[in-house]
Structures are given as structure tokens and as C-alpha cells.
């Protein structure tokens, strides 16, 4: 076997933390990780947030983010030890032998320079080619990555191309100096699902054609299975399991890997149609100061104790629908019937009962809770506000709610900053539940969570629905989530409902073009899915 491009032995990475109530101290964030990467191979690093996958990825460039230090082991790139290399050696290394593709292309590009200037910058700085050679190389890469108008796209500025295109331009930037190793750090995570698939296919092809070695970092096992040769599963800075893709997917050895593979396996029986609790009737809405409708003629309804999933990409109007139903954005036409009553269009004129029976849970639990209030205050406020509970009675009810969301004792006096991501979302659920609502609008409530945590939240929501007979209007872009919990589905595209019905109807062929695109874009956990999906699609994604 030839010498590996990248070889990491017993890597140890430490960081200094500054907790508010203790003196600063060092914690080990990566411990004893070893890996080898051959030329032309792709190694997928997978794990939840905090697993250390990005940190390991950056260590391949001998770099640690603020306060992070590579304290032990060795990092060999092209046969040279680089962990202890000096600044000058590293400068000649980075952007030449190893390059990096970041998660958020929008934040990584300089808005004041054209794309071409930025793509060829590293190549020119290292003197690897003349400007015209480098630009020719870049155009070739643009073409290979499937960017529209490859000869001229370099003259544009970052804001003039879409997010998916920008991510591909960044890939071109990384490949332009012809490095031996590229580190991809969650390159498709911030993209819409239908765009992700294009970028994924482009990256895969580019890696294959140029023959570079790559580290591909992601939290989505189904994604990494499409592009990698080998997968390393990480948890809390340690290696859980390493193997070739097929073995990890089909025959995982460790329990943790098994849990990751089997995530999203919730089975949910679709419930029968019933008299609706919520009926949205011909709703059309636009934001003030604009001249187009973000929602046009929306008709959906939702039965008590059931879940209506509203699916679509960013900009399809699904969150706007939530704003209209809650009264934050009065519609231009149409009406909303709730619980046998007509809801007034404007939030301010709604009765306390209307407000109480319609609750909302947000995507980012972090900003949905006041950081200066304790869990007890956050959950207790609706009890006090709607039911007049005070003192001991309120505290007792808060504890009951905490038990219901499986958090138990010891959390009531904590602040949101002292909770994990999943716990924060649970507290938000408890706050909604405290009002004894008939309907909860869930706006992308699991999108910001790790897959295993999201799984737990979905199971909890289903359980609570069975107990409390509460209906959910579930807004999401993730079809796997929809399959797991919905009774009926509304597919939204450009402000219209393009497909609506019970889950079995909507998910059964024949599909309209958009639903087909959406369904075929959800990564599946099997080899060869990406190629099939690309070959079988009938419509180009919006990000193209």
C-alpha cells in the first residue's frame, strides 16, 4: 500500500473553557483518534454536535479554532509531521497541499470581491500558476461542478448567485490549487434538500475526477454514505467505529452506530378523517410594502388530535402560513376557523381563549426562551396568565409538566443556558402544553437538533398528542420527519399548496413534478441512492 496522504496518530486536542462559576481550565475535546487517508479516497467523519468532527477536520491543516490546541499525537501530511510546524511552514501548506470548504458559503466569501478573484487567490499567492492559467483552471472546475455559464460566472459577486451555487464555487476554490487533501466541513447542511442533492453530486464527481483525498464532515449519515469510501463514527471526541461504508450501513458493530443508522424509523399510523379543529379557507397574504402574495388561496384543514405536515423549501411560504394563523400577519383575503369559531385576523383583537388554545413552538429553542428567566418562570407564566395559578399550585403544575416531558426533578430553577439543545426544546413544548391548547404550531422544531435528539422530540410529541388530543400543524422541510408523524400533508411551493391530502394519498404516485423532486431529494441510507435520484428526476431544483 502506498504511503497515505494524511495520517493521524493518537491525536489529542484540548481547549480552555471559561465556565461562569469556576476558574478557567482545560478540557480534552478529542482523544486518541487515529486515521489514514489514501490518495483519491474520501473518509466521512460523522457524529453529533460536540463529537469533535470539525476539530479533527481542521487538525488536518494543523489549525485549532480560538482557544483550541493540538496537544498530542502526530499529524502527518504527505509524509511530513505538521502538528508542531511553525507559522511559515503552515502558510506554505494551507491553501496549497490542503484546502477547506466551510459550511456557510455566504459567510465565507468576501462580498466586495468577485468570485473569480477569490477562487484563484490561493493559487496565485502560492505562485502555483499565472493568473490566466489559474482562471482557466477555475473555469474548468466551474464546468465540472455544473455551474451555469461557467465562462462568466466568475465575474459575479457572491450575492449574485444562489446558496447552492456559492457552495460549489467554494468547492472550486478549494480544488483550484490542486491540493492533495480537501476538508469538507458540512458543505450541504445549510442548503435546501433539493439543492443539497445537486451540490452533493457535483462534489462527488469533482473529487472523483481530480483524484484528491477528502475528509467529509457531516452529521447526516445518509449524506456521508453517498460520497465516502470509509466512515469514521465519532462521539465525545473518541472514535466509536471505523469501517467501509457498506459495513457501517448494513452491519454496524457498535450500539451507537446502530442507533444512528436506525434513526427516523418511527412508525405512525395515519388517523381517519374527522371534523376539523382548524380550517384555513382561501387565505391570501402579503407583507406590507411588497407587491406580491407570499401565500395565495391556501385551503387546508386539520382534525383534533391529528398532525398536518406543511412541507416545502425555504421561501415556499410555510412559516408565513403560521404567522397568518397566529394573527401576526393578517391575511388580505380568506378566513381561519378554529374550534367552531371564526378567528379575527389580527392578534390584538383575539380573545384570551383563542390565544390559549393556539400555541406555538419554534425552531430555535435558544431564542424562544428568555435567557434571564428560569425554567419554572418560563413554564409557569402561561399557567399564571391563563389560569391564574400562583405559588405552590403553580410550582406543582410546572413539575407535572416537566415530568410529562421526561425531564423530572432538578430543572425547575435552571436557566436555559444550563440545558442541552434537546432539553431546551422540551421546555418549549412544556410551555405550549401548559396552556392546554387544542392546536400547537410546530415551526421546524427538530431542524436545529442532532438526529438522535430530534428522534426523541418527535416521539415525545406523538406521545403527548395521544395523551392530550392536541392537533399539530407541523412545518418542516424534512420529508423523513413528515413520514414519521403526519396524518395529512400539504406540499407548498412558491406560496401555493401544490398537493394536499392524507399522508397515504400524498405519498402515493402519481406525483406532480415538484413533489417528485422533493421526495426524490431526501437522502436515503443506501449505496447508489444519489446516482439513482439524479438520473430519475424530472425538474431542476430552485438552487440551480
Amino acid at each position: 500500500m502506498p504511503d497515505p496522504i494524511l495520517s493521524i496518530r493518537n491525536l489529542k486536542i484540548e481547549a480552555t473553557v471559561y465556565p461562569p462559576d469556576a476558574p478557567p481550565h482545560d478540557v480534552v475535546i478529542v482523544d486518541g483518534v487515529s486515521l489514514d487517508l489514501q490518495k483519491g479516497k474520501v473518509l466521512g467523519l460523522i457524529g453529533e454536535s460536540g463529537a469533535g468532527k470539525s476539530t479533527i477536520g481542521l487538525s488536518a491543516m494543523s489549525y485549532g479554532r480560538g482557544g483550541v490546541r493540538l496537544t498530542g499525537g502526530e499529524v502527518m501530511l504527505n509524509g511530513r509531521e505538521i502538528r508542531l510546524a511553525n507559522a511559515k511552514a503552515l502558510r506554505s501548506l494551507r491553501g496549497r497541499e490542503v484546502t477547506y470548504v466551510a459550511q456557510s458559503a455566504a459567510a465565507a466569501f468576501n462580498p466586495a470581491l468577485t468570485l473569480m478573484d477569490q477562487v484563484v487567490e490561493a493559487t496565485l499567492r502560492h505562485g502555483l500558476a499565472t493568473r490566466s492559467e489559474a482562471e482557466a483552471r477555475a473555469v474548468k472546475l466551474f464546468r465540472k461542478l455544473g455551474l451555469p455559464d461557467p465562462d462568466n460566472i466568475g465575474k459575479r459577486y457572491p450575492h449574485q448567485v444562489s446558496g447552492g451555487q456559492l457552495q460549489r464555487v467554494m468547492t472550486a476554490m478549494a480544488l483550484c490549487p490542486e491540493p492533495s487533501l480537501v476538508v469538507f466541513d458540512e458543505p450541504t447542511t445549510a442548503l435546501d434538500v433539493t439543492t443539497q442533492i445537486d451540490v452533493l453530486a457535483a462534489i462527488k464527481e469533482a473529487i472523483h475526477d481530480t483524484g484528491v483525498a477528502a475528509l467529509y464532515i457531516t452529521h447526516d449519515l445518509a449524506v456521508v454514505a453517498q460520497v465516502s469510501d470509509d466512515i469514521m463514527v465519532l462521539r465525545n471526541g473518541k472514535t466509536v467505529e471505523t469501517g467501509v461504508v457498506r459495513q457501517i450501513i448494513d452491519d454496524p458493530h457498535e450500539d451507537y452506530t446502530r442507533a444512528l443508522v436506525s434513526v427516523r424509523s418511527i412508525d405512525h399510523e395515519e388517523k381517519a378523517k374527522a371534523e376539523p379543529v382548524l380550517r384555513v379557507d382561501g387565505v391570501t397574504a402579503r407583507y406590507s410594502g411588497t407587491s406580491f402574495d407570499v401565500l395565495s388561496d391556501i385551503n387546508v384543514d386539520l382534525a383534533p388530535g391529528q398532525t398536518l405536515a406543511v412541507v416545502g423549501e425555504s421561501g415556499s411560504g410555510k412559516s408565513t402560513l403560521a404567522r397568518v394563523i397566529t394573527g401576526l400577519l393578517p391575511p388580505r383575503a380568506g378566513s381561519i376557523h378554529f374550534n367552531g369559531r371564526d378567528l379575527t385576523p389580527d392578534l390584538k383583537s383575539r380573545t384570551k381563549t383563542d390565544l390559549r388554545e393556539l400555541q406555538m413552538i419554534y425552531q430555535m429553542a435558544d431564542v424562544a426562551m428568555n435567557p434571564r428567566q428560569t425554567v419554572g418562570t418560563i413554564i409557569g407564566r402561561p399557567l399564571e396568565f391563563y389560569f391564574g395559578l400562583r405559588g405552590e399550585a403553580k410550582r406543582k403544575r410546572v413539575q407535572e409538566l416537566l415530568d410529562q416531558i421526561e425531564m423530572g426533578k432538578g430543572y425547575i430553577d435552571r436557566y436555559p443556558a444550563e440545558l442541552s439543545g434537546g432539553q431546551k426544546q422540551r421546555v418549549c413544548i412544556a410551555r405550549a402544553l401548559a396552556a392546554k391548547p387544542r392546536l400547537i404550531i410546530c415551526d421546524e422544531v427538530t431542524s436545529a437538533l442532532d438526529p438522535l435528539v430530534a428522534d426523541g422530540i418527535l416521539r415525545l410529541l406523538l406521545e403527548l398528542q395521544a395523551q392530550e388530543n392536541v392537533a399539530y400543524l407541523f412545518i418542516t422541510h424534512d420529508l423523513a420527519t413528515v413520514k414519521a408523524i403526519a396524518d395529512s400533508i400539504a406540499v407548498m411551493f412558491k406560496g401555493k399548496v401544490v398537493r394536499y391530502g392524507s399522508k397515504s394519498e400524498v405519498l402515493a404516485p402519481p406525483f406532480d413534478d415538484y413533489t417528485d423532486l422533493l421526495l426524490s431529494s431526501v437522502p436515503e441510507m443506501r449505496l447508489g441512492w444519489l446516482e439513482e435520484a439524479i438520473a430519475g428526476r424530472r425538474m431542476a431544483s430552485a438552487g440551480n
Binding site: 461562569p20 419554534y362 424562544a368 428568555n370 436555559p416
Partner: protein, 272 residues
Amino acid sequence: MIRIPPSALLGLVMTGAFFFVAIFADFIAPYPLAAVVGGVWDPSSSEHWLGTDSIGRDLMSRMIYGGQTTIKIATLATIVSFGLGSVLGFTAATVGGWVDQALSRFVDLLMSIPSLILALVVLSVMSVNELTLILVMGLLDATRVFRLSRAVAVDITVMDYVEAARLRGEGTGWIIFREILPNALSPLVAELGLRFIFAVLFISTLSFLGLGVQPPGADWGGIVKENSAGLVYGIPAALAPAVAIAVLAISVNLVADWVLNRTTSLKGGRGA
């Protein structure tokens, strides 16, 4: 137990000392405010620690009474500016619409005129007493506080927890005082220290120009004015109040810095 860094401790002790002397001036000052007890610009001696001033009054006593006046006016003006500025700023951010427009444009109008010139004009047509001084300074400073608290609150009102409170049906009062204020506190506290110092400088400037505290009353700016002629003859009497103003400014800032650092790293603090 809170660990106070040395710089903040120094600031706290110094600020505390200034306020202590100001509050108990009547008991501490060795001579009455306006009594002529010596010659013109006597040098410092065991009887007159800082010497005497331009007409032979004890400078130490004048400094102590002057500090009382300066600190009292600055404190009250700061309270007025904060009460007015923060409540109006939060209201503008929370209510929005034409209320925000009206308040913001009025504040723009006031801020477009240099505050010293505006104060000079207002004070030269009104009878100058402590109440007018406090109100004029408070009102002018409130424009700065309004700007800051509105900016801070606008960032907070877009948070989902504020929307959640609105959807719950909470009134404007709850949203301002329970959702926004606790999260806006740390920048406001830091600003409080700064505004107090600006108020000290402002009243000193006005008095130096003769439109602030009127004789026989004394404040630090006035004392600088009375003794400034002496500088030409190498008499340092005018420096004492100048040094006092500088030391007070530094002390208060040391405390404000520490408070800002502490509140942002609090449990649940936003700037951790």
C-alpha cells in the same frame, strides 16, 4: 462570594468615597462654603490643606461643597435621562409604527443641535436654578439613552421569546419590563456610568461658562472658573477641581467596566 478585580475595587472605593464626602459635606467641611478665612490664594498649610481661593475662602471646603453640588446635579440628571430615555426607547421599539417614528424623529431633531449650544440658549432665557439645570441636562442626555435603549430593544424584540409573549397575549408593560429590560440591562448599566460622567463634565462646563451653578453656590466647574486667573501667576488652585473631576470619571468607569463584564457572563448572560 463575588471576586472583585483590583481595578474595580479601586473604582468602588474611590466612587464610594466621593459620594460619602458629598452626602456628609456639612459635617466634613472644615469651614463654611462662603466664609472668607484667609488671604487671596494662600498656599496650602495645616489650617487650609489646599490653601485659599481667589477671595480668600478655604479651597478644601469649597471643593467638598462643590463636589456635593456637582454629584447631586449629575446624579439627578442621570436619573431623569435614564428614566425618560429608556422607557421611551423601549416603548418605541416595542410598539413600533408611528409612535417609533414620532419619537425617533423628535430625538433626531434634538440631537441635530449641539447639546451645549442648546443648553446655553435655554439656560440664558430661563432662570438658572438647580431644578432647571437638572431638567435641561436630563432631557438632553435622554436623547442618547433613547438611542441606545431603542437600538438594544430592537435587537431583543425580534427574538422568538418576545413573539411568544405577544402570542400569549401579554401587554406592552410585561413585554418591556419582564422580557426586554432584563436582557437590555448590561449595556444600559455600562451606559449609566458613562452618562453620569458626561453629566459631571456637562455641569462643570456650564458652570465654567457661567450658566451653571450661580454664586455664592459652588461646584467644581465654577471653582475652576473662579481660580483660573491664578494659573497665569503659577497658582495651582484651579487644578484641584480639575483633578477631582478626572479622578471621579476614572473611578466610575472602572466600576462600570466591571459591572458590564460581570453581567454579560452571568448565568444566561447573552455575551458569555
